[in-house]
Amino acid sequence: MADPMGRVPSFAQLLDLAEQLRLDETRPVAELRKRDREIGRRSVGDQRGRVLFWLSEVHEDGESAAAIANRSRHLIVAVLVLLGFGLGFAASRVVYYYDGARPVNTIEVLAVFVAAQLGLLGLTGIAMLPASVRRRLPLVGALQDGLGVLSPGRWQSALARLLPQAYRDAFSSALGRGRSHQKLFGDVQRWLVLLGSQSFGVAFHLGALSSCLYLVLFTDLAFGWSTTLALESGELHRITQLLSIPWAAWFSEAVPSVALIDATRYFRLGGGTLPGASALDSVDPASLGGWWPFCVAAMVTYGLLPRALIWAFARYRFATAVRMAFDRMPGLVDLVDRLDNPLVETNAPDAERVGVLTGTGDHRPPGELATRRCAIVNWAGLELADDSLSSAVERDFGLGAVCVHAAGGAQSLADDRALLERLTELHDQSNLAVVIMVRSWEPPILEFIDFVGELRAKLGDGAAIIVVPVALGEDGVPVAALESDHEQWRQRVDAVGDPWLSIRSLAAAVS
């Protein structure tokens, strides 16, 4: 049913699309955008055509489960057609049964192949009423449900059980998917069933006609008419005239005359099988078979043709339902969006390498100091007076500051080196500790770690070096750092792995 230009999707393509979009739900969006845009740039035509092109591109080699499911459907329809043909052939053989004792009853032919068919056509019409009517008239819904159970199209599921395992599985899987998208696939399933029913119906009528023509050609049938009802020849003539309207103008041989109707009435009782037959020309026994053109024309006009038209309509509506389900498939809008719009990439293509701190990383609480004196280093321009730094250190750590020096920041490297020499001298003279007060809000950088390393090298093992992150309080006084800032400095100091290097926090704001 797919057209050569690829604009009309087939049932198999609908199943393929549903399956592919379902698979795509689990894939990263970035990957989908890249893949689909690449295909989108090569595709041309209208939206549906581009989606079908996309489907052919993303589809992996080999026959898809959807294609197998579709083939299964064709097989099942073929079985339905065979069944219909066989049943029609058999029904016709029964209705046209003639053993010489009793003629073929034309009334029976009309009942089975005209009246019953017209009734079935009416029911088919009800089954085909759209969902909007079904919603408004609850009775229609109930009728449709009831008819659905009787429809030969429903036999498809049962027939699927006769298929080989692979076909059966694919068909069940396709039906299952349809059920999971009931709201979307509802129409497709409905018309699939109706199309199956109509295929069966058309085959039934072809079978019946074949059987009828076979009997006409190869046997000598005698027709008559008989009914228990009080039906006069004139009334039957009017009925046959009415039924013959479609072909009367161009196929007059198929319109029974009054004489034929009078002559071919028969009764079970009294006077033989066809008491009126003497009225016919005795040299033309073939007149008794004069009914057959009428019967064939009625079967074609009221059986085969309407059924064929409805089959064509069902096929058209099935294709429409497939197309609509295709267009409304969840995820299709996103797919078209990915196909049609430029792929904008701004992310890094590779994973980030994140730096880790090296060293022991062990955090040791500062131990008891062996000295009560210290030298203070104001690192990187902490904007606080030397006195306030000294008093904070004395108050919180019990260390008396002998001097306060600046390092880092605006100081030159030569100044830093000179300070290191000075601190070494002081330590050698009086074994004092070195307290480095840093701006807590600035991160510890390697320049600072280098300074601490050089200081350790100068002072030697065992000399206490204390890092104190300091925040600025109101009125220019040093206060304890925020916990997050202190933690950042602590991690960095611990990572140095120096057992005599510690970090301390000011106890509280100094007023």
Partner: protein
């Protein structure tokens, strides 16, 4: 013409990675409180259909700027030789491992990248930054300084005064909270650094604006689909003829409500995916408002229509039904049907429907019973779901990729439905009415997406 490259440089922990994350819409960028998280340059190429437009480069922070500056000053070169001196420095130290961060960050700059120097405007200026700025000035590359405010204090003016002495352009940019327009504005500013770069950056801005519009449209569709599904959802249970349906009511109702909640959550995740927000963390406490029970009617007037709007909506629905009666009777009712329908509809919407979920018991043709819970027909319910979705969208679409905080949907910041113009309201009323009348979700999905799209576009 070479494609522009921009190296985001600066002192450690001043928000370089946040700037990159926001501009590259990439939430995979490591943003940490600890200095030295970024150890190697990482490129963020902006490509349109594979065509490279510009590249952002996230770099490690300066770690030994004073030492580098000291080395450069010792070189005794003229201004014309400054760049060559920096190149010599990198060449000499690349393999020694003595200045890994400086060599890494200066490499893209020396290869022609524009400089985006990032500082934290919430912290005071310090003289140690001057060595960094001097080194960058010696490279001779076009440069722009970004004052990023990480904390609450304001030292922006102090920074501006210092930065203007070193950089051509100085801009304030809040990397974590920058609205989309500010991000585009910054990209345009990049284009002004070098004449050749402007066309590429202008094109990038144009494409990003279109992409944003598409994202909004996709989000509208995701919200529309969620809304249609939630409003047409129902849950059924088959029972034997002898079973007592009432015994199954509560379980069925709970199952139905859970289905709705799950669908609403899936809708939110879909919107988050549209905006490439992958690592959004929700705290049950923080998102209490949005995750508050969908069926808690206490919140209904907050999220959905207020009582007056509700009466109007109900009256409209009633009037439609009454109007149909008038038409059917050829106007013999003198429009009384419309008037009565409106009055009854309005009153029902305002005061009726206390019970949200109704359970129907249907007798099956082949025996047994079918219990059906839902769909919810309450007039305000669609607007409640819509109001919650719109609020989630507002919060999410304004969130940058540098924002790694827990998704917070504060009640005081929520505006529920917000302002919806009359035409959109009418259109929504009509769609919701059709859903109440039994239309399938897919039948109204396009219209709903269009109506939600109109609301998002107007916000």
């Amino acid at each position: 013409m070479t494609t522009p490259v921009f190296a985001v440089v600066g002192h450690p922990n001043k928000g370089k990675s946040s700037v990159v994350s926001t501009l590259a819409h990439d939430d995979s960028v490591a943003i940490a409180a600890r200095a030295g998280t970024t150890v190697v340059c990482r490129e963020y190429p902006m490509k349109i259909d594979g065509e490279l437009i510009y590249t952002l480069v996230d770099t490690p922070g300066f770690q030994r700027a004073r030492k580098v500056w000291d080395w450069l000053q010792v070189q005794q070169v003229t201004a014309a030789e400054h760049r060559a001196a920096v190149e010599r420095f990198v060449a000499q130290h690349r393999e020694t491992g003595e200045f890994p961060d400086e060599c890494e960050l200066l490499t893209p700059v020396l290869e022609g990248a524009g400089i985006l120097y990032v500082v934290d405007g919430s912290l005071p200026y310090g003289p140690e930054y001057e060595a960094e700025m001097e080194i960058l000035r010696w490279t001779g590359q076009p440069s722009l300084a970004l004052i990023n405010r990480i904390g609450s204090e304001d030292h922006v003016e102090q920074w501006k005064a210092a930065l203007r002495q070193y950089f051509q352009v100085v801009r304030v940019f809040d990397a974590v909270n920058a609205p989309f327009a500010a991000r585009l504005d910054l990209l345009r500013a990049f284009g002004q650094l070098e004449q050749d770069w402007a066309p590429a950056l202008d094109r990038a801005v144009e494409i990003l604006e279109s992409e944003r519009a598409r994202q909004q449209s996709r989000a509208a569709r995701a919200i529309g689909e969620m809304l249609a599904d939630v409003l047409s959802e129902s849950t059924t249970r088959h029972l034997s003829t002898g079973d007592d349906p009432k015994a199954y009511h509560d379980a069925l109702e709970q199952k139905f409500m859970q289905k709705l909640r799950d669908r609403e959550r899936r809708g939110r995740v879909a919107v988050e995916e549209v905006y490439d927000q992958h690592i959004v963390e929700r705290s049950e406490v923080d998102v209490e408002l949005l995750d508050s029970d969908l069926f808690s009617t206490d919140d209904w007037y907050f999220w959905g229509l207020n009582r007056r709007q509700l009466v109007t909506a109900g009256a409209t629905s009633g009037a439609v039904v009454g109007g149909a009666l008038d038409v059917a009777l050829g106007g013999a009712t003198f429009l009384l049907g419309t008037a009565i329908g409106a009055a009854v509809g309005g009153a029902t919407a305002a005061f009726g429907g206390a019970r949200l979920t109704q359970i129907k018991v249907l007798t099956l043709p082949l025996g047994g019973l079918l219990l059906q819970c839902g769909p919810i027909r309450h007039e305000n319910f669609p607007y409640v779901v819509l109001g919650r979705a719109l609020h989630h969208h507002r919060v999410l679409s304004g969130r940058t990729h540098a924002d790694r905080t827990t998704l917070t949907l504060a009640e005081e910041a929520a505006t529920g439905l917000g302002q919806i113009d009359t035409d959109t309201r009418k259109s929504l009323d009509a769609i919701f009415r059709r859903l109440r009348e039994g239309a399938a979700a897919h039948e109204v999905c396009d219209e709903l997406a269009a109506a939600v799209g109109a609301i998002l576009a107007a916000e």
